[in-house]
């Protein structure tokens, strides 16, 4: 049985609904080599800035990814605002923070579900998504969209939520936290789950850093880097401590994400308590001229928008480096030596989003 088999994994694979292709060279169910190829869905969105008004481009930025849509739009806006030196009203900053954290909760719950599906725990998958649906309901109610929030705009946000409703949501989240805990405890404690997660795909602290991993992938290896520490949006007033785990394996990444769900709930509750009244947007005049690397922490990790304006209504260049793009090299390094059964969960622990990656 020591014959080498090549298992084509993706671009269409049931476990990984993402167009990433890996040729897994397999010996007795042990992967000895993984050859990646991406580029199946390159959309050239970066090129589109040359044709779209920089204000309209927010809609495109939001649609780079379906799951971290809100933070994509927000990062783009922050970059443009930084170049144009706009002081966004406080309420808008807080609303961005609240929605950003909501998108983190729903993204992590989505990931938990997919992870459960990858290690063959169907009911856990369904229950994770059942709870995610409730979060989506709140999102839809406050923003009008379920995954594409559509609330970002240069100079503020497009919708307001009444303070009363925010208070109610904050209370509602408390009850949801209990339900989420019921499900996440299974990820953390159930032995059949641990058997699939512990010790799989260990990434050392040094490797994680020098292979450019970001987000939960980096933090699970013990590096305390969280872009929210930069203090964009309202994170100046609501300090965030990066959640880290020392194990560096799939279980560690799972732990980091689960803790981040509860951290996000906490951040939302604190933001609701502190949110200032006032306008939610400001008038934007003129065109951006200058450059800025806008960095924010998405559910999947650090996203970076390079925005360069040349004083016209079209930007000269906009470049997005999404977290998945940064995490892929790291995952390629840990795949050799794993068994085929570990590949889906291993790939999923970077929370891959290839459509972001290829913009």
């Amino acid at each position: 049985m020591s014959k080498r088999t090549i298992i084509p994994f993706g671009p269409q694979h049931p476990v990984l609904p993402e167009p990433l292709h890996l040729d897994l060279v397999v010996e007795d169910e042990i992967v000895v080599e993984a050859v990646p190829s991406i580029g199946f869905i390159h959309r050239g969105l970066e090129k589109l800035v040359e044709k779209k008004d920089f204000n309209e481009f927010v809609y495109v930025a939001e649609r780079i990814c379906g799951i971290c849509s809100c933070i994509h739009g927000m990062t783009y806006c922050q970059g443009v605002e930084e170049i144009m030196n706009l002081q966004v009203p406080g309420r808008a900053k807080y609303l961005r923070t609240i929605w950003g954290e909501f998108s983190r909760i729903h993204s992590h719950l989505l990931w938990l579900g997919l992870a459960a599906d990858a290690f063959g725990f169907e009911s856990l998958f369904m229950h994770s998504w059942r709870i995610r649906e409730k979060i989506l309901d709140i999102i839809e109610e406050t923003t009008g969209g379920r995954v594409i929030f559509g609330t970002s705009k240069v100079g503020g946000v497009r919708r307001d939520v009444t303070n009363e409703r925010l208070k109610e949501i904050s209370v509602l989240l408390k009850t949801y936290a209990g339900e989420i805990k019921e499900v996440t405890d299974i990820f953390l404690n159930d032995n059949s789950v641990k058997h699939r997660l512990c010790g799989v795909g260990v990434l050392s602290k040094d490797d994680a850093l020098m292979l450019g991993a970001v987000g939960p992938m980096l933090r699970a290896s013990g590096v305390a880097q969280d872009m929210r520490k930069l203090g964009y949006a309202a994170y100046n007033d609501i300090p965030v401590e990066p959640i880290i785990d020392q194990s560096g394996d799939c279980y560690g990444r799972c732990v980091v994400r689960i803790k981040e769900v509860f951290q996000a709930i906490d951040i939302i509750q604190r933001a609701v308590d502190k949110i200032p009244d006032g306008p939610i947007d400001m008038k934007v005049t003129g065109f951006p001229n200058g450059e800025f690397f806008a960095r924010t922490e998405q559910p999947r990790g650090e996203v970076i928008y390079y925005i360069r304006g040349n004083g016209t209504k079209h930007l000269q260049r906009m470049r997005v480096r999404t977290p998945t793009f940064a995490n892929l090299p790291a995952i390629l390094k840990v795949i050799p030596g794993c068994s085929v059964a570990d590949i889906p969960i291993l790939l999923l622990t970077i929370d891959p989003c290839i459509s972001c990656t290829e913009r």
Partner: protein, 128 residues
């Protein structure tokens, strides 16, 4: 050892009401702010083409001469930019999504012939 940890939740949901619903027999009620499909009151439209210019996906085509307004439902991303841009408030966003489209490139075409509008300003000028 923690096995069968999920039993309680699983048995609990077995005896309680399912979280899913029997769509399409039972349709979820949309929230008031849901961004659904775009609707137009064509009688009020002045064919200024502002919505078409603001549309990020060029889903809207307005023809001033023919007095027509059409939207490609498959291109529309329900971003609400046109609704916000419309000077006559004749565009609105429904909370329901547009129904499934059977034909690719099928567009919803609205046309309001000129004579009727000529009579309309006198009939209902207040509601501009």
């Amino acid at each position: 050892m923690s096995l069968f940890a999920f039993t309680k939740t699983v048995l609990g949901s077995m005896v309680s009401k399912p979280a899913t619903r029997m769509y399409p027999f039972e349709v979820r009620e949309a929230f008031p702010g849901t961004r659904g499909s775009i609707a137009i009151e064509i009688e009020k439209c002045i064919y200024c083409t502002l919505c078409a210019r603001k549309c990020p996906t060029s889903a809207i085509v307005v023809n001033k001469a023919a007095r027509s307004w059409e939207i490609d439902r498959l291109r529309c991303i329900s971003c609400r930019a046109c609704v916000e841009a419309c000077p006559k408030d004749c565009l609105s966003q429904l909370t329901s999504y547009s129904p499934a489209v059977a034909i690719k490139g099928g567009k919803d075409f609205f046309h309001h012939p000129a004579p009727k509008v000529a009579a309309a300003p006198g009939a209902a000028p207040a509601q501009g």
